[in-house]
């Protein structure tokens, strides 16, 4: 079955450094991967979508990569700030729906 695996351990990063989150998928490559941010008690907010034929996508301080050989997507936040602290979710496109990872909690320390 198709799965999305994200590191369940919280990631602690010093303010100003680059935070890198990992999303691994199983079986065949999805047509696209999406990344969302979720704050406690709130709905996820869309950040970036990267398609299978794209190696990299950027948006302001965010960068996403898609490596079909490693079956992996990396999500980078450069010049991280305490306001970036949240849980980040990865999801793969599959037929009519998205299959979600459980998310990685990111904590940016001042």
């Amino acid at each position: 079955s198709q799965k999305i695996e994200q590191n369940s351990e919280a990631l602690n990063i010093q303010e100003g450094k680059t935070a890198t989150l990992t999303c691994n998928y199983t079986n065949y490559s999805p047509a696209y991967l999406q990344w969302y941010r979720q704050d406690p008690g709130r709905g996820p907010v869309f950040l970036l979508l990267i398609r299978e034929n794209e190696k990299e996508k950027r948006k302001e301080r965010l960068k996403v990569t898609f490596d079909t050989t490693l079956k992996q997507s990396l999500f980078h936040i450069t010049a991280s700030q305490p306001a970036d602290s949240a849980t980040y979710l990865c999801a793969r496109g599959s037929n009519y729906q998205l299959i979600w990872g459980a998310g990685t909690k990111l904590i940016i320390k001042p």
Partner: protein, 116 residues
Amino acid sequence: EADIYQTPRYLVIGTGKKITLECSQTMGHDKMYWYQQDPGMELHLIHYSYGVNSTEKGDLSSESTVSRIRTEHFPLTLESARPSHTSQYLCASSGTSGGWDTGELFFGEGSRLTVL
């Protein structure tokens, strides 16, 4: 800010009660979804709709039902709530831009349901 609204945000009810979680969007999106999410866990799709009068069950078995009589409205109903229904319920919608399915989901703030 996404224009998708869920009510109530929080609900505590007793076993056996009937409840309806409301979801409305003002973006004119055809596709709407209901997800269930427990703390620290992934989102699971329980219902979705591709348009008016279209409803389908998702991969996660659910005793809830949905309806889609209007484009903007996608309510979820539990006829007889049980403690196992305690969870966070998230409504989402997606649309097209320039004829292309953007794939981006817009979520509401969620409805936190507790069944005693």
